[in-house]
Amino acid sequence: MIAATAPVQRSPRRRVMVVDLSGQIRDLPRAALIDLIQPGDLVVANDAATIPASLSGIHLPSQRPIEVRLAGVPSLDPHNREFSAVVFGEGDFHTRTEDWPQPPWLAPGDRLQMGPLSAKILQLLDHPRLVLLKFDHSRDELWAGLAHHGRPIQYSYVPVPLALWDVWTPIAGPPVAFEPPSAGFALSWQLVTETRVAGAQFKTITHAAGLSSTGDPELDKRLPFDEPYRVPQATADAINQAKSSGKRIIAVGTTVVRALEHAVHEGKIAAGENLATERIGARTRLQVVDALLSGTHEPGTSHYELLRAFLTDAELERLTTELNVREYRTHEFGDSVLVSQTINKLAEHEPRCRMPISASTMNKPSFA
């Protein structure tokens, strides 16, 4: 798939490939998204702002240059100063992640200096490049250091250095994401306000979106790492009301799917903070989310695997073919897909019901 290389969130050229309940595929301009939202729909997005989590620095014991990419936190506690991080050798984002030089040998107790920020490695996390580190600073000092020394994590397919405004969605609020919840790049305040006009609702959760790539195949297999999230009471109430009324839940981004499918218990969403640990995939029986607005994802990625919860393998293959034929752009500044959990996918969970089920029988709207 062709990478989108310009950091433009809402290019008028952006497209959305729609897969409806029946598995039918349509190619539309992304500006048509509002026309696909129906009265009663509940759109749920991730309002996490992106931390500039890429920190250049020095491994003090060896005096060798490193790059530290903050990768996770155990909770959304704002006083937390411990982060999991992936450490790279000397280089910058122009280097493909998988070609990045190895860091020096890391050990617990090693100190790292990253501009004005200093930290100590507390432990290695079962991999020589994945560490738990703790910053030496107060909360305010840490935020100031990140603001002035940190850079948005970025990859070689975007050749220009990213600014923080490039990686904050229009609804970006709490700074807890390590990479942007980039499905939200499709949002605009016009879309948010028109959602209400269309008779639908717009709510948010906060989910600490993590890394999409580490450059190490063994580490990549472990993605996504455990990610904390928070469901506000107003969002939980809206979701539970929508589900009990048979209304549709549209998730903006894979992080929302991960959070909501983790937060559900006995058919109801609980408000509050938790840690998403499971991975969504072909065997996941979705309990909350009916449709997903996301970027385009390549086979082999955890995001692609998540699509298998919505589509059968045959449908996903057809979608992937269509995306390639129509030269959809991939990665965070690329085009989008809007996929419903299809009838055929639902039937995979109900082996007795192998005959096609009509949308009217399902009592769920299809995308018009």
Binding site: P78, D140, W143, L146, A147, P174, W189, K203, P232
Partner: protein
């Protein structure tokens, strides 16, 4: 410009922990001088958590040291590149946001001059600080503010205005035009976003005895001017009124 009524300087009659303000996280610009400094102190005394921006490190550190529950951030709102890093610190340090006050202001040209004698660069400076800075910072913090609104909390943006925004005072062109633009932006923002629970209002504090006023009118009779503390209390009253009305 009209001069404000004479004010007697008194100590503030502040309840040490106002119930409303102890729930609020407030960001404001220009927090080390004049009205901004007075607001930082009033909000802190009422129990609010405050993040304030100003351009120079030493006064920022001093105000933060002397005023509890405050977070000082060194940033120049007229600098486009400073806005998002400042927003990151604001929301990171406060954990969320209910009120943004765009207070930092620039006269444009000092001493004040006729428009025909005003350098383009001075007009640009006034616009950068008084219009683009508030515009950019508001956009960067809109996500945090709207999150507060969606959870049923306050979400309010206050843009400090002036009678120069509505009355065409000679020699006040750069400042007046930029404040007029900010006032109009405020009204349009409010029409566009109050439906989402984020409200915008302009606040004219009147003529205050501040360093900025002294720069503009060096020979003013300072005893006729409102104190910054009094203006701050007026703004607090305006906030209480705004928050008492349904969004």
């Amino acid at each position: 410009m009209k001069t404000g009524a004479s004010q007697t300087r008194t100590g503030s009659n502040v309840r040490s922990h106002d119930g409303l303000f102890s729930q609020l996280r407030i960001a404001l610009t220009g927090g080390t001088s004049g009205l901004g400094l007075a607001l930082v102190r009033e909000f802190s005394a009422r129990g609010a958590h405050v993040a304030f921006l100003a351009r120079h490190a030493e006064p920022v550190a001093k105000v933060e040291r002397e005023t509890k529950n405050t977070h000082g951030i060194v940033a120049d709102v007229s600098d486009k590149d400073a806005i998002y890093p400042a927003a990151l610190q604001i929301v990171g340090e406060l954990g969320g946001l209910e009120i943004l006050i765009n207070n930092a202001s620039d006269l444009g040209t000092v001493p004040l001059a006729l428009l025909a004698d005003t350098n383009c660069e001075d007009l640009e400076k006034a616009i950068a600080t008084n219009v683009l800075g508030p515009f950019r910072l508001t956009k960067a913090l809109l996500g945090a503010l709207s999150a507060s609104a969606r959870e049923g909390r306050a979400a309010l943006v206050i843009n400090i205005s002036s009678d120069a925004a509505v009355t065409p005072y000679p020699r006040w062109g750069a400042y007046g035009a930029s404040k007029a633009a900010l006032r109009h932006l405020t009204e349009i923002w409010n029409k566009e976003l109050s439906v989402e629970g984020v409200r915008f209002l302009s606040f004219d504090p009147g003529d205050m005895d501040t360093p900025m006023h002294a720069l503009a009118i060096p020979d003013a009779d300072r005893t006729t001017l409102k104190t910054a503390d009094a203006a701050a209390r007026d703004l607090i009253t305006a906030i209480e009124t705004a928050l008492s009305r349904p969004a």
